[in-house]
Amino acid sequence: MFQTLQYMRHIKASIQKLLVILFTILVTSTVSYSQDAAKLFKGNCASCHKPTAAKLVGPGLLGIKSRWPDQTKLIAWVKNSTEFLKTGDAYATKLYNDYGQSVMPAQALSDAEIIAVIDWADKGGDAPVPTTPTDNKDGVVQNAPAESNNTMYILLGIGVLLSVLIFVLSTVKKSLEALLNDKKGIVVVPKPERTPLQSFRYWASNNKKLVAIIGLFAVIWVLKQGWDGLLGVGVYTDYAPEQPIKFSHKLHAGDNQIACVYCHSGVEKSKHANIPSANVCMNCHAYIQEGPTYGKEEIGKIYAALDYNPETRKYGTNQKPIEWIRVHSLPDHAYFNHSQHVKVGKIECTQCHGPVDSMEVVKQYSPLTMGWCINCHRETEVAFKDNKYYEDLHKKFVNDPKYKKGDKFTVEKIGGLECSKCHY
């Protein structure tokens, strides 16, 4: 009897112990996992799923519990989808076929972690931060091009105000003078009536020197304007046309630090720094469907050009090219090759194109005149160092007694000023 009692007590104690352990595990696990659910989701699921109804590679996870009433099945599916498919589960097979037979990779997560993520995503995740088109968190300046116009209007306004002030003050002064004269009993001989032209001539004949000086400045100014105007013929510096899609280089190349060559990938291989085809846009914008400045509007234009439906993630057949407007244009009789300058000459993009990573709308930074080309060819030293392209040429010059070590070796010396280098 006593023995049985002791035995019972022993069992009771172990059960208690077990319960305590289980409870602690449960509490700590749920606490830590539910806190980390968002993080777990981001790290393991977010590349293919959204916690909303929106589809990516796989379905949106909002309301996932209602679609998977049996939690053990769902856990098995997440842990190893390929194995689970072999059980022939109807819903899983349907999912697999509906989403282009892309395999969900086996997730190395514990049951508790999976449950935490599912609980979190079932309710739509954390309340999503609405990104409205006016959301300007990237500090995008939207009205940058209008700024110079504004300054001009402000100056004009100030000018008008000042002239009104001058007019009012002079009228006041005149009437005060008249009042004073009236009081003193002075009779003012009225000035002879003159037309404005007559009064100007009267004034001019009295101030010949001043008129001469002003005239001289006026002539110089007109000549200067004319000269500048003629020099500017055919020079497109600062040309910044409005493009069919308001693509911001500041956002992409500046804030997001995407390398120039990611999109203009032909620059090291071809004459042209190619305009990226829309499939390059889609490398990111299949996922990023809303921009910080214009929301869905501008990104939607890429989808329209590709006849792409972001809901079904399918491309249609009615595809059209995006009609970008050319900014940099050399005349036909001048040859320019990007790969020669970027790959062989090792010139940075920004040297000719300026700070594109800060341009909201791309503009032509350099004049692209012949004088500008020639000047650079005179000043720039040939990039001989570690340059396979110039290996033979370098050897030749090193062995030539005409040149000493440390001589400045510019592009001019290897024929950079020859007419036929660029005009043929």
Partner: protein, 228 residues
């Protein structure tokens, strides 16, 4: 009296001159390229890249290469160009993992090339160290970029990497149009190095890789012919 009149008139003349200077110094219209003298010299009748052409039904001057044409490039480090024959399916992905071998041996030059390509093509999502924490992930533009040393990717064979670069996978798009055959294999060398660094394995386990790839090449060839 004359003196006063002079001041006033001079003021008006100077104000007018200043106003006209300000007006004329306003920047030229950014929407217009400006004045052209003999526009025929700028815009000749010859077709330009990315230009329009009424000659073709789709209105584009740029043409695609004839289907089936094989690019030739001047890279003597490569033995030959191999058209990619694995289909964009799960079977193709598995088969590529077994059948593809990097044509480059590991060398400092190839690694340097791979690094520079990585820093242009991959870094903004996959991060400088390949931990999946690139600038776009940090800025919350993109999420869920896997780390190269995560459980899922730490044993990924190079063939699957190549297949992924070529066709894209999940949310990663195809990069076949941006980097060519040689560049893909060069960047894979750098990805392998990042992964080895992240896992704490010393890079240069190339000999084993070659030993494995010799056998997998045979298996891959079998799979390939079986698929045909």
């Amino acid at each position: 009296m004359t003196n006063m009149r002079f001041n006033k008139s001079a003021l008006i003349v100077i104000a007018a001159a200043l106003t006209s200077v300000f007006v004329s110094c306003g920047k030229k219209d950014p929407l217009s390229p400006g004045v052209e003298y003999m526009p025929d010299m700028y815009r000749g009748p010859a077709s330009e890249a990315y230009g329009e052409s009424s000659f073709f039904s789709d209105g584009l001057a740029s043409r695609k290469p004839v289907s089936g044409s094989i690019p030739r490039f001047n890279d003597e480090t490569l033995p030959f160009y191999e058209p990619y024959s694995y289909p964009n399916t799960n079977e193709g992905y598995e088969a590529a993992g077994l059948g593809l071998v990097n044509p480059f041996a590991t060398s400092p030059e190839i690694l340097a090339k791979g690094e520079s390509i990585y820093k242009i093509m991959c870094i903004h999502c996959h991060g400088e160290k390949g931990d999946g924490n690139g600038i776009l992930v940090q800025r919350d533009k993109y999420a869920g970029v896997p780390s190269y040393y995560s459980a899922a990717l730490k044993d990924l064979p190079v063939g699957k990497m190549y297949h992924t670069i070529y066709y894209g996978k999940n949310m990663m798009g195809s990069h076949a149009s941006q980097i060519n055959y040689a560049e893909r294999w060069q960047v894979i060398k750098w990805v392998e190095k990042l992964r080895a660094d992240g896992l704490g394995i010393s890079a240069g386990s190339d000999t084993t890789a070659v030993a494995i790839s010799d056998t997998t090449k045979v298996i891959g060839a079998v799979v390939k012919t079986a698929m045909k």
